[in-house]
């Protein structure tokens, strides 16, 4: 009797939690989610940039072409920022430093030490792939 009630309540908890999670997802995103179409194949010189985007943990917080954290997508970012601004946002310096949370700036500090050729490849990638969808 009591065991049945306990198991029933466990089942109810699972169903309610999953149901409410789904309800939230649907209500908060009126249109079904879709992975953004993969950006145009990056040109040869930004293949390294694409690899760095994943290796350096950029995808922890950002997505390009549907790959990565959809919270802060970078599709079309090159249409909004020039190369110098992009570099500032990568390293959390200049204008970016004032607009980011302290913890995020601290996290971005490591990118200021990227070798120049890696930073260039990353910027190439953002400008090529990240510029696909303004």
């Amino acid at each position: 009797m009591r065991e049945r009630l306990a198991l029933l309540l466990c089942g109810l908890t699972l169903v309610l939690a999953t149901g409410l999670a789904w309800l939230f997802a649907v209500r908060h995103n009126p249109r079904p989610s879709h992975r953004a179409p993969p950006a145009v194949s990056p040109p040869a010189q930004s293949v390294t940039g694409a690899r760095l985007f994943l290796e350096q943990g950029c995808a922890n917080c950002h997505a390009i072409g549907g790959a990565g954290n959809p919270r802060y997508p970078l599709d079309g970012v090159a249409a909004r920022r020039d190369r110098a601004e992009l570099e500032a946002w990568i390293g959390g310096t200049g204008v970016a430093a004032g607009q980011l949370a302290g913890s995020v700036v601290r996290r971005k500090e490591r990118y200021r030490e990227l070798p120049a050729e890696d930073m260039a490849a990353l910027l190439d990638y953002l400008q090529a792939a990240g510029g696909g969808r303004p």
């Binding site: 009591r2 049945r4 309540l9 309610l16 939690a17 999670a21 290796e55 943990g57 997505a63």
Partner: protein, 454 residues
């Protein structure tokens, strides 16, 4: 009920108001467990990350709510556990925690499946701190689950397991909360920051209550061991008396967590049934069989040793059924201990309702309380039937275990009216419950106790 009977503070209300209280506590449980999801639904929030992303994320919130509540479930709040019986609360904890771990596991699995790039490297030197915190938390929740479900197979000693369980649970929860607050996307929005801080602090406070406040309150009510006396069937009766004042009031059939010879802060406590009469407020008796690491050391406990008693707990008691016309007790081995408390108490109260005990033992020489059961028959309207697995020559009673063949004819006349108490090894309890159901006994009139908590 005899008005001279001591009335413990909690679970004093039988019947419909107990059902009402149970419903209220269940509603509160659901509200607290689902509060993180409700906070998400309450809006307004920053833009979503897509249905899949937000679903995976919300499952993590759901899991955290359920897992946080486990601290409250195991805090032994007597008022909250009384309508259900604390044994079933621990039984519930076992499965509810699994639900929480499943939700948190699904949170991770769906992110890994749908957004593999976002998880990045698992190397803690490279990965963001909040993702490492989440990974360690997940591993700890997994270890908690495995070590609890398979403690005996892993040969983990009970006391070691309990301490590891507490340390891992608190660490996993702190890391999980840290992960949520560090991500902060939804939790920092609008009014939520402070609510989240309070909600998170609540579970940590409950953990603090369990480890600090409760042991401290036990410290103020010490007991001393009076004697450790051998009983039949490799069992011992431990008697403790309060250092000052009266012993705690309990209902016959209830149990307590006992710390022997050590501070309650050390969390080396074990649950045992009271076996003495609830009418005796001068001392407490527990009858314990040598089964595990701790019970084997019982014989070495010296009289005068300090002990602490956290109780009473449980609803396995005839006092919840004051209007029952009679009781039937089906017990095996040391499962007789709580029933002995019931019989001794009913005798002290002069209760004349018809009682039937059907008790299974291995051999005649191992029948626990054999002589006292005979003596009690002169003070109670008590019928006693012994069932022996290895009967002596000339034995004309039932042989074997408490099988349907043995039980059915003995309870036929009582199946429609009496309340049944079943206590013994797990297989016996399960088999007897099936027999009772097949004999038409309503589940409401079948009481069981879960002792094997981990």
């Amino acid at each position: 009920m005899n008005t001279a009977t001591p009335s413990p503070r909690a679970d004093r209300v039988p019947g419909s108001s107990r059902v009402g209280r149970a419903a209220a506590w269940i509603a509160l449980y659901l509200a607290l467990a689902l509060a993180p999801l409700a906070m998400l639904l309450a809006g307004p929030l920053p833009a979503g990350g897509g249905r899949r992303w937000d679903f995976a994320l919300a499952l993590g919130f759901g899991g955290l709510g359920v897992l946080g509540l486990q601290f409250a479930l195991t805090a032994r709040f007597r008022r909250a556990t009384a309508p259900f019986g604390i044994d079933i609360i621990y039984y519930f904890h076992r499965y509810a925690a699994l639900v929480g771990v499943a939700l948190v596991g699904a949170h991770y699995a769906l992110l890994r499946l749908w957004f593999p790039e976002t998880l990045g490297t698992a190397n803690p030197l490279e990965a963001p701190g909040h993702l490492t915190a989440a990974r360690v938390s997940l591993v700890l929740f997994f270890l908690l689950t495995v070590s609890s479900l398979a403690r005996k197979q892993l040969r983990l000693e009970y006391d070691t397991w309990r301490i590891a369980h507490a340390v891992m649970a608190v660490s996993a929860m702190v890391l999980a909360i840290g992960h949520v607050l560090a991500v902060g996307h939804y939790t920092a929005a609008a009014w939520r920051g402070s609510v989240w801080t309070v909600y998170s602090a609540l579970w940590i406070l409950v953990a603090g209550y369990i480890r600090i406040v409760r042991p401290w309150s036990l410290l103020r009510q010490p007991y001393r061991v009076v004697s450790v006396a051998p009983e039949r069937g490799r069992s011992w009766t431990l008697t403790v008396a309060p250092v000052r004042g009266a012993a705690l009031a309990f209902r016959p059939g209830q149990f307590a967590w006992l710390s022997l010879g050590c501070s309650p802060f050390r969390a080396r406590e074990h649950p045992f049934s009271f076996s003495g009469s609830a009418a005796d407020r001068t001392q407490l008796r527990f009858t314990i069989k040598e089964l595990g690491d701790f019970t084997r050391t019982l014989r070495d406990v010296a009289p005068g040793s300090v002990s602490y008693v956290d109780g009473p707990h449980g609803v396995f008691t005839p006092d919840c059924f004051p209007a029952a016309p009679g009781f039937v007790f089906l017990t095996g081995g040391v499962g007789l201990a709580p029933v002995m408390s019931m019989l001794r108490t009913l005798a002290d109260r002069g209760d004349r309702r018809p009682l039937q005990l059907i008790h299974g033992s291995r051999a005649w020489d191992e029948v626990l309380f054999r002589e006292e059961l005979s003596a009690l028959q002169s003070r109670l309207a008590l019928g006693v039937v012994h069932v022996l697995q290895e009967p002596p020559p000339g034995w004309d009673g039932p042989v074997g275990v408490l099988s349907p063949d043995v039980i059915a004819p003995l309870i036929a006349s009582r199946a429609a009216t009496d309340v049944f108490f079943v206590c013994g090894p797990k297989p016996m309890t399960a088999s007897v419950q099936r027999t009772l159901r097949s004999q038409g006994v309503s589940l409401r009139r079948v009481q069981t106790e879960h002792f094997d908590m981990a």
